[in-house]
Symmetry: C2
Subunit: 226 residues, 2 copies
């Protein structure tokens, strides 16, 4: 019984790793599409999201079967519950990367981002590229140090995001309404990607330690995880 459980748990962990790699590729691709007006990359991110969604559904199904047949307890149960939640988080991250790719495709061959905001958006994208790579490593190695660095550094992304919001607020900024809308929405998609990466990092810490850092006293648990 125990051997079967571990084999099945291994299979679902492999699927979750695959999902994390898909999400990493989608984040990299969305950034490239946005930065270089690369419509082919944009399209491949959009098309690729279907597989990510399917993986999410399959992972939840596998977890429910594991719970039904194997009655996991302690660390194994934590792994199964956290795996379900991670798959839901990764599905949302895939959706957000797809939204960015769709914005890049819509304005092709131009960028949706006004020229003088592109440096800040590139910095956000650089940040997310690193985060996406870290997500994959963190998950494959159940690496708490990487998870903690993702949680700790998310403020940098929020600061960049705030900078884009301040630019957009100024009525002196010579841009179209559509450009303001794109700056606001793409900025929010990126900020949300960072929030979901933080949420995923908390789940990995929970798997390893059984401790949920979202419940640390004084931490504003619900903030912006929507």
């Amino acid at each position: 019984m125990r051997v079967i459980f571990n084999e099945e748990l291994k299979a679902v962990a492999d699927d979750l790793d695959r999902m994390a790699r898909n999400v990493r590729d989608a984040i990299h691709g969305a950034g490239e599409a946005l930065r270089n007006q690369d419509i082919e990359v944009a399209q491949s991110v959009i098309d690729g999201d279907v597989e990510t969604d399917k993986l999410a559904g399959s992972i939840v199904d596998q977890c429910v079967r594991l719970l039904a047949r194997q009655n996991p307890v302690a660390i194994d149960l934590r792994v199964v519950v956290a795996t379900m939640r991670l798959s839901i988080t990764f599905e949302r991250m895939g959706d957000l990367a797809r939204h960015i790719a769709q914005a890049a495709r819509r304005t092709y061959p131009n960028s949706p981002i006004p020229a003088d905001a592109q440096d800040t958006f590139n910095a956000m994208q650089d940040f997310l590229d690193v985060t996406a790579d870290r997500l994959v490593t963190m998950l494959a190695d159940r690496d708490v140090a990487t998870a903690e660095s993702i949680i700790r550094e998310d403020d940098k992304l929020d600061e960049l995001h705030l900078k884009t919001m301040r630019m957009a607020q100024s009525d002196d900024w010579q841009v179209t309404h559509q450009q303001i809308m794109d700056v606001v929405l793409i900025g929010r998609f990126m900020e949300r990607l960072g929030d979901h990466a933080v949420s995923a990092s908390r789940r990995v810490i929970y798997i390893v330690s059984g401790f949920d850092p979202a419940k640390e006293p004084g931490r504003d648990e619900g903030t912006d995880i929507d």
Copy 2:
């Protein structure tokens, strides 16, 4: 053993009902704050979100304990898994209602919504008020017909949302940049509230029938559920 399980399941179902009522009140309150520039209601929505977040954490913990100690199968297992997912969805809905209330508080005593867009936003809010009431009934009665009507009618909210986006896009619209940003973000929060209500409805159908309508052929499962 069985009696204990049902008692514990009843306790967590009561908490989930409580969460749904909190979310309903938050949605109603956010709408009232936005419509009537009522800063006291706005503040109570913002303050109330703390309890909703705590309930979500408590519900997930209770579900994990149930899974560990009772090894539920079949319908009971479906209920536990769906309850976890519903609590996560309701937590996000609480966050979104809080974001709307925060926008209303920020611009007090003015509305963040330009006068000529207020009718459309009021219509979105009317729609969400009905949806919020339906969520509570649907959950308390495990009512599939109500769940299906929430899923079916979400298009109406999307149409209203699209109308606000079209208004914002026009460079002839005499508004400030900040007003465009608020129209875009508050509109998106409302649209997302509708999406999450759809997602919750699917979970209720899954509890009752064991069938996940998100997996219906041809349905775009991952769309915008982020």
